[in-house]
Symmetry: C2
Subunit: 206 residues, 2 copies
């Protein structure tokens, strides 16, 4: 309390360093040996804390991978909540997509770590499951935000259908179209096409 927000106490700084050490050790080991093959004991050893301490920083091994997902959700909810008066649904959703893409570009994580993470999430079944679960919760939150921003215009079910269709289309299209040599721009094109399909409807594909 006594310290201003910029300068944290020693305790706080130490915690941050430990946290960072755990993340870095983990990503390094995951990259070298794979996710399943790396044990918590090894990660903790590299970060120079006890195995037990690991669990006061992360609830689980998976949590290491998804440690920064919250803020992205906040951002997305903010975009929806910031609907301009009279702005159309499609307008809001397009802003949502654009902002998300931007946000992906300026990540907190380094490029290398981001790549490792993406590979792991696409590769390890347990992480895939966890990622989908997180994405699902995100969608629920977005649907609720949408329902609020369009109070009286969209029912909860309709808001949810809209979010589900949009994100469902993008997610499946991107993953289904993935190949080892895909560039980021190609992926972006696929995503945009998926948005287009969701917006104009499946009927437009015939």
């Amino acid at each position: 309390m006594q310290y201003s927000s910029g300068m944290a106490g020693l305790r706080e700084r130490k915690k941050q360093r430990t946290r960072q050490a755990l993340i870095e050790a983990a990503f390094r080991l995951f990259d070298e040996k794979g996710f399943e093959e790396t044990t918590l004991a090894e990660i903790a050893a590299q970060a120079e804390v006890s195995t037990r301490t690991f669990f006061s920083y992360f609830a689980s091994k998976d949590d290491l991978i998804f440690h920064d997902t919250d803020q992205r959700l906040e951002m997305a909810v903010g975009v929806i909540a910031g609907r301009a008066p009279g702005e159309t649904l499609v307008g809001v959703l397009h802003r949502l997509v654009d902002t998300s893409v931007e946000n992906t570009l300026n990540q907190t994580l380094g490029k290398k770590e981001a790549a490792v993470r993406t590979r792991l999430i696409l590769t390890e079944p347990s992480l895939q499951a966890r990622g989908l679960h997180l994405l699902f919760d995100t969608q629920l939150r977005l649907a609720r935000a949408l329902h609020e921003s369009f109070a009286g215009e969209l029912t909860m079910a309709e808001s949810a259908a809209a979010i589900g269709a949009l994100i469902g289309a993008v997610k499946l299209a991107v993953v289904a179209d993935l190949r080892p040599d895909r560039t980021f721009d190609e992926i972006l094109d696929t995503a945009r096409r998926a948005v287009e399909i969701a917006v104009s409807g499946l009927g437009s594909l015939s």
Copy 2:
């Protein structure tokens, strides 16, 4: 190989009985004590096999819950593959939805077990994650099937976007609109509305 009840050998019949015993014991215990709270040892004991034997019937504890998902996927792929010549995309997808609904009604599981399962999947985070993962794989398979049935008409990415939008819309709408007192028919209405939205496009909501 199949359990055509009359002439299977003793070995086969016994295996089927054990499998069934495991499923029944598990659902009973899950219902009484919850999923996490029930140990494999207890399930195995109730079914009168050793804990180790459990794993020659199911790959994991989760698998008990999702043991019959494969056949539903086969069915769905079959529906898509059975596209009538010239049949439109929306036509195929509607058949897919209808058949899935029917299929849900005549389940292998008893009503009580089905209810327990649904509750658990919606409730237990680990099962939720597993369910979403399974559903995701299903969607990928369906997208591929669609791509084949519409060879030359739809790219892989477009097929995936279509499936993703359709199932994404239904999934989120149903879950978001869920309440303890929802009847099956109400859920069905929500699902149909979501299909409508996905088919006619998000633009139609404005």
